[in-house]
């Protein structure tokens, strides 16, 4: 069964703080994991450590049970990876670039044309005779993704796979990985929350080199939604009056004269207490969970860390 494992991965480049500190996670089977964090959080560093581009200062990474450093060839033997901005030899044609990946991965061009036809259908590849050095960024990215997928590696590691793609190309990529995650193990970093939410069933949040949270996408969305309610009064209420309900209320913002978005502690008890407290401010017409999207969860986690009811794993 396909597996990705990071154990205490730490990478220190000698800067102000380590790029990655004690990152541990493990997944096996099929599915997609979204690796989320702001720029400089340590996402690419993690993916590079997993694929042997970097050596860890401490800890180790294994892919399919093989150490990414000491057994790099075996570890990468069933991996398709797109890290940073890969470029085939500029003089290579699209066909040659994909064939090279196929040759190195499987050693045979058997069924390659069929496989390329399949990838072309999914990725809308540029003409196979075109030189990769003359392709647009989006075209080249699609060729690189085709190179990562040719030979059908079961573990796919992607660093911002939609980077440089236009909306149409992003939809292509999204649909492709939604299909692939059914029988492949995909670990992808991304800034695009909608993309991650649609593809990935599991999430890892990382910031300043530390993993903040590991959860299923469903739980993350559910948990953060439960922390925020939208409340509507029958008459105008000053937002400061709601803010004065601290520490029960962590944050309140106005959505209009009558409606407010209120962030609170998150427990069922706190939710009940909040409702009672709000009723003292005025007549509450509606009181419901806010439709906070993954983006809000992401922003909240990055800003406040994992201490919003989540457990760091």
């Amino acid at each position: 069964m396909s597996s990705i494992e990071a154990v205490g991965l730490t990478k220190d480049f000698g800067g102000e703080r380590p790029a990655l500190v004690d990152a541990s996670f493990s997944y096996e089977g099929a599915g997609a994991i979204g690796y989320l964090g702001p720029n400089g959080a340590g996402k690419t560093t993690t993916l590079k450590l997993l694929t042997g581009f970097l050596r860890p200062t401490q800890g180790f990474a294994r892919i399919n049970g093989h150490d990414a450093q000491r057994e790099r060839k075996a570890a990468l033997s069933d991996v398709g990876a797109v890290i940073e901005s890969p470029e085939p030899y500029p003089s290579q044609t699209v066909l040659e670039a994909i064939r090279m990946a196929s040759d190195f991965r499987r050693g045979t061009s058997q069924n390659l044309s069929q496989e390329i036809d399949g990838l072309d259908a999914k990725l809308d590849l540029p003409p196979l005779s075109a030189r990769t050095g003359r392709l647009s960024k989006g075209q080249r990215q699609r060729v690189v993704i085709a190179g990562a997928l040719v030979g059908d590696p079961k573990v796919i590691i992607l660093d911002e796979p939609s980077s440089g793609l236009d909306p149409k190309e992003r939809i292509l990529i999204r649909n492709l990985f939604k299909d692939l995650q059914r029988d492949h193990l995909i670990l992808m970093s991304s800034h695009l929350m909608q993309e991650v939410a649609e593809i990935c069933g599991h999430l890892i949040f990382v910031n300043e080199g530390r993993i903040l949270l590991r959860e299923t996408t469903e739980n993350v969305v559910g948990r953060f939604r439960a922390h925020v309610v939208d409340v509507e009064f029958d008459a105008p209420v000053a937002v400061d009056r709601i803010r004065a309900l601290a520490p029960l209320v962590k944050e309140a913002s106005s959505l209009g004269n009558l409606r407010f978005r209120v962030t609170f502690g998150g427990t069922r008890l706190a939710r009940g207490q909040l409702l009672r407290a709000l009723q003292e401010c005025g007549t509450v017409l509606t009181f419901q969970d806010s439709s906070l999207a993954l983006e809000d969860a992401y922003l909240t986690l990055v800003r406040d860390g994992p201490n919003l009811g989540g457990s760091v794993q």
């Binding site: 089977g29 399919n64 060839k73 890969p86 470029e87 085939p88 090279m100 045979t108």
Partner: protein, 279 residues
């Protein structure tokens, strides 16, 4: 370890080593792809032009100015005196970017994400650089031999010596390429590694090779000195640019060039194997 799900029944079994080519198969693949890269570059055509210009100038000098002496061996020896200069330029251009391209551009993120040992990838590229260089060197020898035969005929032509010289020339190219690969594995910029190769070999070792013998010191550490065996292999009497008397003995020449090839190639493999791909 949390399981995410189960792969569909028709998914490939996860016995990861199955299907991955052997190191020797990877070597030939790497060589083939690098070869096709080299022969498409404008640099290859440029070097072809450079070699053509050098041999053309030498031929003009020999035929019209009478430089080179009165026998086939002397014509050959006179031409081959310039071999090391040509070899350094070819080696620098063919090997200077072979590895640095992986660190200075995105090709490393494409090639090194594939399941191939870096050492094997490097050796494949080294093999390709050697073959392409030998094509260029072959042109040089072809013109030099043709010139000598045209002027002095095939009677008493030193074919065996030419064969030995070609073998030594190949060894010199291996040594220079190894130096270029070594710089290429250290520097991110292909231009810097090419320039460093030329500077170190031409200005550093070139000066040492030219000046130290005047002080009675044999520059045994210089691949350029070892390369003088290439011209010296032709048993010519008379003047050549450096003079056969300044050349090393055949075993020493072989030892120097082989030493360069082995030592610098090993260093480049080690640097390439352990170097991180950042940025």
């Amino acid at each position: 370890m949390p399981a995410l799900g189960t792969a569909s029944p028709d998914a490939l079994p996860i016995e990861v080593s199955v299907g991955v080519p052997s190191d020797s198969a990877h070597f030939w693949m790497a060589l083939r792809y690098q070869l096709s890269f080299y022969i498409r570059t404008s640099r290859f055509l440029g070097l072809f032009g450079f070699v053509g210009a050098v041999v053309g100038a030498l031929a003009l000098g020999t035929v019209y100015l009478g430089v080179g002496g009165s026998s086939a061996a002397e014509v050959l020896s006179s031409n081959l005196a310039y071999f090391t200069i040509l070899g350094v330029v070819i080696g620098a251009f063919m090997g200077g970017d072979a590895i640095s391209m992986d660190f200075g551009s995105g090709t490393g993120y494409y090639a090194l994400a594939l399941p191939i040992r870096r050492a094997i990838l490097l050796l494949g590229r080294y093999g390709a650089a050697f073959l392409v260089s030998m094509v260029l060197i072959g042109v040089f020898y072809l013109v030099a031999v043709s010139e000598a035969v045209w002027l002095h005929g095939t009677g008493g032509f030193p074919w065996a010596a030419v064969g030995i010289s070609i073998g030594l020339g190949a060894l010199f190219i291996l040594g220079v390429l190894a130096v270029a690969f070594c710089f290429s594995s250290v520097f991110r910029s292909p231009a810097v590694s090419m320039i460093m190769t030329v500077i170190v070999l031409f200005f550093g070792l070139g000066t040492a090779t030219g000046e130290l013998p005047k002080a009675g010191i044999e520059p045994w550490f210089s691949v350029l000195y070892g390369g003088l065996a290439i011209a010296a292999a032709i048993p010519a009497q008379g003047s050549t640019l450096f003079g056969p008397e300044a050349a090393p003995s055949l075993p020493l020449g072989i030892a120097i060039m082989l030493g360069y090839a082995v030592v610098f190639l090993l260093v480049s493999i080690l640097v390439y194997e352990f170097r991180e791909v950042k940025g």
